[in-house]
Symmetry: C2
Subunit: 429 residues, 2 copies
Amino acid sequence: MASFRTVKGFRDFFPEECAMRNYIFETWRSVARRYGFVEYEAPVVESTDLYRKKSGDEITSQLFCFHDKADREVSLRPEVTPSLARMATTRHRDFKKPLKWFQIGSCFRYEEPQEGRTREFIQFNADILGDASSGTDAELIALSIDVMLAFGIKAEDFAIRLSNRQIWTQYLEERQVPAEHSATFLQIVDKIERAKPDETACKLANIGLSLEDVRAFMAAADENHPAFAALRADLTARGLWQYVRIDASIVRGLAYYTGTVFEVFDLKHGLRAVAGGGRYDKLCALMSDGSVDMPAAGFAMGDVVLGILLSKTPSAQFAITEYLNAQQGVDAYVVVADEAQRCHALAAVQALRGAGVRVDFSMAAQKVGKQFQAAENQKARFALVFGAEFPEVQVKNLISREQTLVQNEALVATVLEALKHPAIGPLIA
Amino acid sequence: MASFRTVKGFRDFFPEECAMRNYIFETWRSVARRYGFVEYEAPVVESTDLYRKKSGDEITSQLFCFHDKADREVSLRPEVTPSLARMATTRHRDFKKPLKWFQIGSCFRYEEPQEGRTREFIQFNADILGDASSGTDAELIALSIDVMLAFGIKAEDFAIRLSNRQIWTQYLEERQVPAEHSATFLQIVDKIERAKPDETACKLANIGLSLEDVRAFMAAADENHPAFAALRADLTARGLWQYVRIDASIVRGLAYYTGTVFEVFDLKHGLRAVAGGGRYDKLCALMSDGSVDMPAAGFAMGDVVLGILLSKTPSAQFAITEYLNAQQGVDAYVVVADEAQRCHALAAVQALRGAGVRVDFSMAAQKVGKQFQAAENQKARFALVFGAEFPEVQVKNLISREQTLVQNEALVATVLEALKHPAIGPLIA
């Protein structure tokens, strides 16, 4: 029998990858909190009907859906917004509007794995419910920009592609295209950059439009379009308009968005969108069968494309290294040079940890050389050697190589004091 | 159509519950790091065979198992240890032994929900691989104790129930019970406190033993038993032996544990075990078909019973309140008293957040009274009022009610300075 592997499209997070994941989580979390967002979490399993309600029957082809043992139709969540709408509409009276909520957790899609796409991925979701103002859209776009900047991704590395569904609604009205063609039309626009011009022109002709006219309108839709005026004023005041590019080809989830739509994308590597979102004012009413009508806007950022972008962005590396250095390893390694002193060493381990010091030691009897090697592997700043000198303990700075003898009873205070001084610590290899 | 609900046994984490969850996560994480453990994560979905291999076919009755669209037999993980064994054996050459690894994440069991038991629950797993010493067992038990203490759960509230599989192996050998009865016997011991004495006696008689003899042996198995000598010396040196009670009825997962077994349980409320674990030296060899033989020990602590215990333990409340106060709300709320100043207000919001200050404001135009109300709801320490006085900004301390006018250009520095002083902040209601 072959050894076990991960299921196709799923990932192991060994300690190094897990530390990187935690770095991403903490960055998302800290920027969201600066923006006054509060964290929530939804179940990983929801009824399949929840996703059908939002996206129609076709969605099930991309779902990890199954029947549980009581024959309930359930799915691993492909996204969190339907759960958010369920939660927020169920208890909307309990919270002051607007709700500024964020979430971080795994989602699952049954899609063919490829670069930037896994079957289990982690999303950061930020949404504002109960405020229809364009200031809300600006707040979300600003958050997405500040998240990128917090990762050390700079103006030359990324941009926001911005559009608004309304400009196409207006376009269709002006050309007297019947409303029932609206979805078809948006599908055509969504694919306009990738599809063959001939085919696109043919599809447009079917609903009475010409490719030239659509192209001309797209080219003319710039930041002076009135649909962007309020957003532009807001983001300009924040000094963030420089990150925005108007792009009328941005459409996103078809039946879903109602106004502003945007994507965060990298400028150098042609990756998939790092994040995307917009205004979806009708979802809460849809999910609550009309009982709670609450305007809403939000965006989601995945960890997979972001991770690729971080690995390709030199200016992002410094913060990562700093984080990993701070998180990994221990402060002190207790070396038992004389097994007769193990009891005293254990008492010191306990006292140091109790004082908040990260301490490791060899749980089994080991040669002293091996213990020092382990201390180095663990990137310890100090080795604390319990040997024949006890009750004196040798404190050895593993970076400067200085060493000194300390009375055991003063050990915790000495280590705490020494740790206050910034060390030129051993860098992560 | 009725509104959507969570699937049976699954939980929503609204912001307050999510903050509590994060408090539990951070406490687990910080104590584990003090002990020199590093974090990993495994996939939520694994092949069902992984769990069959460890636990036999019966396990599938408790699994959320299904066939994916390519007919793979997969399961939502019911526990993380099989994934850990898979990961650690696959890449065992890449890591120095011993591995001290911890993990925090959701697990899933198809069991009837009841107090202390949900279908999706979160586990903290701590394991040490590659070290067979009793010092490893002591390290894990010490970690479980320090985690409880870190939550403010005190000596009078909890204890460790400790046993060792070896004492029963030795017992059976001394009474010449054939090895093939060992599993049956342990099952009987596992249920000895709950089953009817008559039935237990009958079952024991079938394998040539008497209930009286088993009971007498259990009563005699105290801390002086040689199986506990090394553990006792170690934990005594750490000052932690006081938390331990020898309890020979502790058996735990049948085919799995090979030596030390222990549970963390509360002393006042009769809850299910808060955590449990032990030594499982044969699992890595089993999961790698004998190719990697690595001793191992570990324990898991769930969030559900722990959460109930925290809610019932007064001494645990202070730390929770302190955490929630620090995490929730914002530092400053920007009030736009004059819409003509919104641009300046937005610039200030951006500058303050850029300096790390948590700031909220009303994204839509609002009456000043409503904005101050929102500032209170958000537990802001300061309101920063942009009105006709601009470029002077009114800084209002919402706790002391003091207020002062500050030049806009000095605003960030003023707020940063003011936040340095500990405030008697508004407590969470």
